[in-house]
């Protein structure tokens, strides 16, 4: 079971979190401008990397914050975690 470092609460057990998918995905600012093909890819197409993967987790049983997690899908090693707000500021 993973131990995930919440930037707000510290290291917490995986059972306190819920998974939220690819963190690199950003909702298009003007979806209407996208072709059906491009929108379909945003909706449905995901990488399945063997190695580092940036993903969202919500600290659902804790501070309720969504956080970014860089996880190695092969070893489950968690390289870093961050607050999406901080990423915005950086």
């Amino acid at each position: 079971m993973l131990l995930i470092h919440c930037p707000f609460c510290g290291p917490r057990d995986q059972t306190e979190y819920s998974y939220g998918g690819d963190a690199t995905l950003q909702r298009p600012t003007d979806p209407a401008a996208l072709s059906d093909q491009a929108w379909g890819e945003y909706l449905n197409v995901r990488d399945n990397p063997a190695g580092l993967h940036d993903e969202m987790w919500q600290h659902a049983q804790g501070c309720r914050r969504w956080i970014g997690v860089r996880r190695n899908t092969l070893t489950h090693e968690i390289v870093s975690t961050w607050s999406p707000d901080a990423a915005e500021a950086a």
């Binding site: 079971m1 131990l3 909702r27 059906d36 969504w66 489950h76």
Partner: protein
Amino acid sequence: MSKGGQSMPFRIADGGRIDRTRTFDFTFNGRQYQGHPGDTLASALIANGVRLIGRSFKYHRKRGIVAAGAEEPNALVQLGSGARTEPNMRATQIALHDGLVAASQNCWPSVDFDIGAVNNALARLLPAGFYYKTFMRPAALWMTYERLIRRAAGLGRAPTEADPDRYAHSHAHCDVLVAGAGPAGLAAALSAARTGARVILVDDGSEVGGQLLGDTARINRNDALRWVREVWDELTTLPQVKVLVRSQVAALWDQNMATVVEQVGKGGPLAPHLPRQRLWKVRAREIIVATGAIERSIAFGDNDLPGVMLAGSARTYLNRYAVQAGRRAIVFTNNDSAYHAALDLHRSGVPVSAIVDVRAEPGREVRAAASEAEILVLPGHAVLRALGGDSLRAALVAPVDVEGRATSDARENARTVEGDLILVSGGWNPAVHLWSQARGKLRFDPVLATFVPDHAIRGIRCAGAANGAFCLADCIVQGLAAGAAAAKDAGFARGPTLLPPHIDREASAPIAPVWQVQYPTAYRFKQFVDPQNDVTVADIELAAREGYRSVEHLKRYTTLGMGTDQGKLANITGLALLAAAIGRPIPEVGTTTFRPPYTPVTLGAIAGPEVGAHVDPVRHTAMHAWHAEHHAVFVNTGLWRRPQFYRQGKESDLDAVNREVLAVRNGVGLVDVSTLGKIDLQGHDCAEFLHRVYINNFRSLAIGRCRYGVMLREDGMVFDDGTVTRLGETHYLMTTTTANAVRVMAQLEYLLQVEWPQLDVYLTSVTEHWAAMALAGPRARAVLSRVADIDVGDAALPYMAWRECRIAGVDARVFRISFSGELSYEINVPANHGQPVWEALVAAGTEDGLCVYGTEAMGVMRIEKGHFVVGPEADGRTTPDDLGLGRLVKKEGDFIGRRSLAKPGLAALDRKQLVGLAPVLKREPIARGAMLVIDPRHQPPCTMEGFVASTCFSPNLGMSIALALVSRGRARIGERLWAMSPLSRMSTEVVVVEPVFFDPDGARLRV
């Protein structure tokens, strides 16, 4: 408990780690025996001369005790009786206690006379893969075969009663977790602890010491157990060290999490406050695997006869438990370690007939010690076969070459060596199970002829015999180094350097990697590799001939290593034999995957306290006690308990629901709607935010007004619905469905925190802060006006508006919104006031015949009104237009899901649309979940026009009605279809109608 031990013929007079001042009585197979504290069931059985412990899995052959620890394949017993009975328990790990009851497994009618043993006579007919080959055809009969095969081949029996014991879960964190408290583990724990690191030391034995408890090693020129005692004393005085004995590290998971199963107490009855087992979830910065090594056997003829035992285990029984495993021993080995067993037994008075060594050159020191003890050593020889019917009486011994192949003159030089005990040693396999579970790699060490840990992995180290260090001095040196290094990696400054104690080293000769004794076909006897699953050398060779070249396939085909012991004894030997059979080197064949747990874990420990009523928390609304008192029949919706209906007298379920529906439609009713999700929104951008998450326009919502809203998923499908009320300039209240309350909150949080962090909106879930109840029906206003301190007339509180007021003296919010289709007020009060306000409303409604109603009546009324709900109609495949909500979709601006609505598939003309169904014959019911077809005579597969989503009996219309999703449904009003339900054997002719059955203009809402 009786005094004195007049029995126990195989117990020696002194020595061992048992308490002879006390005697336990125990029962095995119905017979009474005695043992002492410190005994295991296995050592006590050996002390009493009990050799036949069970019958084998497939051939029902007689089996005895082979080992002294977790690797035991044969001595599995049914432990205890009644609700506490446990199958497949290893006698070698059961601490003896007074009154213990155990019995043999897999034999009928008794272990001495077992009818299933006929399989042994038929063994030629039962080769590897026999079941696959024989019972393949006809396929339909497999179900029958399987039951019979399983009964014939079963192990123990699971208890049929509920487990009366409790199990606990504990969480722990430490800097260094040490698995195994043998010499390496003790040294590692000590050197780590001296730095100040928090250490947890775990061992499956009843005391620490590991192998040292079972041999006669010397440390610092003294009994090694004195060193063990010193280390133990120091560890137990350090506050940051925790030692768990009778505990097994069952598994290592990702990120250095370990699960440890602790047996609480010393066996026998427990104090009532104690759990029987405790499952520890330990998070460790660093882990040291010091789990020792497991001795392996050598395959020779009839090597499963009771009396054939691992040499190291016999030594443990002698030195630790003070029992002699036999009266005269024969030792068969390919390495030096077994000589020590022979010498110890000899010293204790058990004559050793011969040490049979496949090597031409045994180690010089051990050989000299054997000659000094006048023990016959036969180098270059092997045991071809164990002799004896019920029990071992001799061994057939002949010369072999260095690979264990009988020489050409073997037959003329074969001789019989007397003995009732064969101590066999085929070398040692490091217990790498935990290391491998943690994805540690292995490499084959040709000198040790076994797999050892390879390449460091972060956070985990192996030390001692688990690391391939088979000499005591190396074990302790490795342990000290591993402990210090682990503490350093965990962030602790180097402690005082610990010098290894003085240990005399012994010059030893290398092992000869012999796995099997090979001899001419004249000597064809069963050579067991995996005694638990009855897999022989011949089975492995057959599998190889049939093309099973991968060790994983071999395992599944022959069942090698698939027993409850997971092949601790058998696997390495099995794969070495496969390698030989297919002519490939052992490292290329590799090992099977080591999976957790190391030893079986009882389901009770995994479930822990989360059983019965504690599986899930229960959510009660503020009015729950009132509902229960008034005969509510409850239904589970998620974790909530909601009144389904309230039964009066002996009325049927349907009568109760009909009564409630008619009461609301014709008078007034009251329903608890507290479970709806409620989210409080505050901030300057609430309107903008709501506008982006709902399909409707929310910019225009005025203060004091409510609006119905529908949310989509980003793929365009309806996600949830509810109402939004504008409480103030920057203050809104949103309701969600009961089922989606948590999901909606998480989705809104995601959007605000990740996608639109610039929006000024704050969310608070207030579901449980407010008790909510709906007062509905033509007489609702009359009732409300008696308890509210404001005017609740249509002008003051119009449809889709809200007001703050006091109801029965309590601050309340009253919303004029309706789910039933009647004049309706939803009243929210702080949860603590829920029940008094509810009671006040019930009292105020008495003269109007107010009727409390539940979710069933609510469901009937919403079907009558054609309202979709999330689940049956909004099933994740329906768009707003499918549900007839196209008109709600705002013309301008983006919202979640808007782009998807423009995709061609979602705008297709043949999509299923929400319609109503009425039976053509008014008396006929419509089956729930029925498929809609045009012609009932068509045999499947036939075109499905749609399906019934929700159905009920409408007491207002006097017939069954249904909501359905029908392809192009809105254009087919008036068309007849058949609702077919082959499962409930119902078919009903129905007519497609508008989805709103009752008050289609909504006149009853606006009064």
